[in-house]
Symmetry: C2
Subunit: 295 residues, 2 copies
Amino acid sequence: MTRFNPPAAENVIEVIRQSLDDLRKSERKVAETVLDNPQHILGATLAETAALALVSEPTVIRFCAAIGCEGFQDFKLRLARSLALGTLPTGSQLESEDTTSELIGKIFGYTISSLDWVRNRLDSRQVSQAIQILSNAQSIEFFGLGASGVVAIDAQQKFPLFGVPCGAPTDTHQQIMTAAMMKPGDVAVVISNTGLTLAMIEVAQTARESGAKVIAITGSRSPILAECDAGIIIETLENTNIYTPAISRIAALVVIDILSAAVGLRRDAEHGEKFANMKRLLLGQRRRLQNTKKM
Amino acid sequence: MTRFNPPAAENVIEVIRQSLDDLRKSERKVAETVLDNPQHILGATLAETAALALVSEPTVIRFCAAIGCEGFQDFKLRLARSLALGTLPTGSQLESEDTTSELIGKIFGYTISSLDWVRNRLDSRQVSQAIQILSNAQSIEFFGLGASGVVAIDAQQKFPLFGVPCGAPTDTHQQIMTAAMMKPGDVAVVISNTGLTLAMIEVAQTARESGAKVIAITGSRSPILAECDAGIIIETLENTNIYTPAISRIAALVVIDILSAAVGLRRDAEHGEKFANMKRLLLGQRRRLQNTKKM
DNA sequence: CTGTTTATGTAGTAATGCTACAAAAAATAC
DNA sequence: GTATTTTTTGTAGCATTACTACATAAACAG
């Protein structure tokens, strides 16, 4: 009776992909048909789906049961939910005739669905490894150029909140100097979307030679990983359109959020209380700025 | 026959809310029932929904038609899609026992649904106004501190791609100086999540006195708006949890994407071709960095 | 090759969504 | 205020749809 544990679904599409091997031959035909064009299945009826997969209707139903759904209807609902994110960017080619509302919808939609895509491809083991290293860091330096430089600066603003002193030098000379001055116990986080930028590869090498641990955050399985102790790959869907928002930097910011939250939670017991004060100090800063104003 | 133009749906829940006034009495009962507990309707059948709203089944169907759906099934699918975003953050309180996978899921989920929230509350007229001003700018200066400073730097990296020279001074003294040196035809974009930071208010005033147009990007209907020619309010849901990702900076980046894309599209005819070159130059820059390396 | 298990399809059933029509309510005209 | 039209809502029936019991076919073991 029991074939395998029914995967408690959240993202059906992902579940189907993972269950592919456990399915029977004709059930797999259904699975492939669904994966091939999920959007179309949404509009289709049970009979149509069966015809499309060249199987009988009950097989489709058994397929639904196999992936943990109550029935075909339930399956379609879950599918709709999964597709809500993945579907958003359809027809999101920006056009100069677009109204502002359309532009807002398209760019937000594209950003949201891209983030979903990134999430599904993020390797939690890579992230765990990075957290492990960061948790034990005495100090952290973030390195990046261009858009990745923005991410580095952002990270440098977040981590101190959890009791880790850190920096983010912005120009290549400062970066190499800082990397050269690092010492065992320190951690260097090198951010490079392409992973090809030579200046960044060099920073990674230098930091490592100085005895620091090196973590890379990059957009693909790129050369820079060879110079690092841990690497987080943020896979974004390439989009050649000029006006397309650069999703990689936003995805990287979210990863920074994850890392800082994880490190923060680990240090919670020790530094948790300090945070409330920090926030009050920041508030005070805003007041004090008024007095030091006119240069 | 024709009652009102059927709203081409995207987010059904939003459509329902907007259509409330145009609906008939008993259709509105259905609408309210759905809005009251959309999650429950997803699992319900047509008959159940009708019973819950104390109306007949055809009324429910007419309701579906009125909000632009093909029928009850179609309505449920669209509802599922809308809810996919809105439901994500449930139970996303971060806990120190969370596994890395859970952490990733929660933070991405929170970010995604927050962006959806922001999108639904963004006033396209405010954005249009900002686009209008930016399109005519001779040069643009972005101002921000802390997390907003990161956004300013990001913006300063994007806009030049579309033919607008710009800057983003980072410390308060540079900011005031730059603001004081601006001239008619220039545009200052002042980014402040709180909208209370005095240094930023001052920058806005100074820039305006210099004859520049001033645009504010802020988190609420805040005092800084009084000093500006246009304002974009990015409403984010406050979350007091320490480790919660700062959604406002990410939302602001998306807004920057929208603004830059819009301005870019407007200048398309003139500057569109230049972009391809720009990208090639950037690639070359990566190579050249190797030679200038060792300080 | 035979018996057993597993996988798939056929045929029928219950229920679901939908439509034609009628009743009721509201609006308008006189 | 009544009559007539228009609009709104409900009733009853129909066509489809999803699903289930059973039978057949395929795979496998001995």
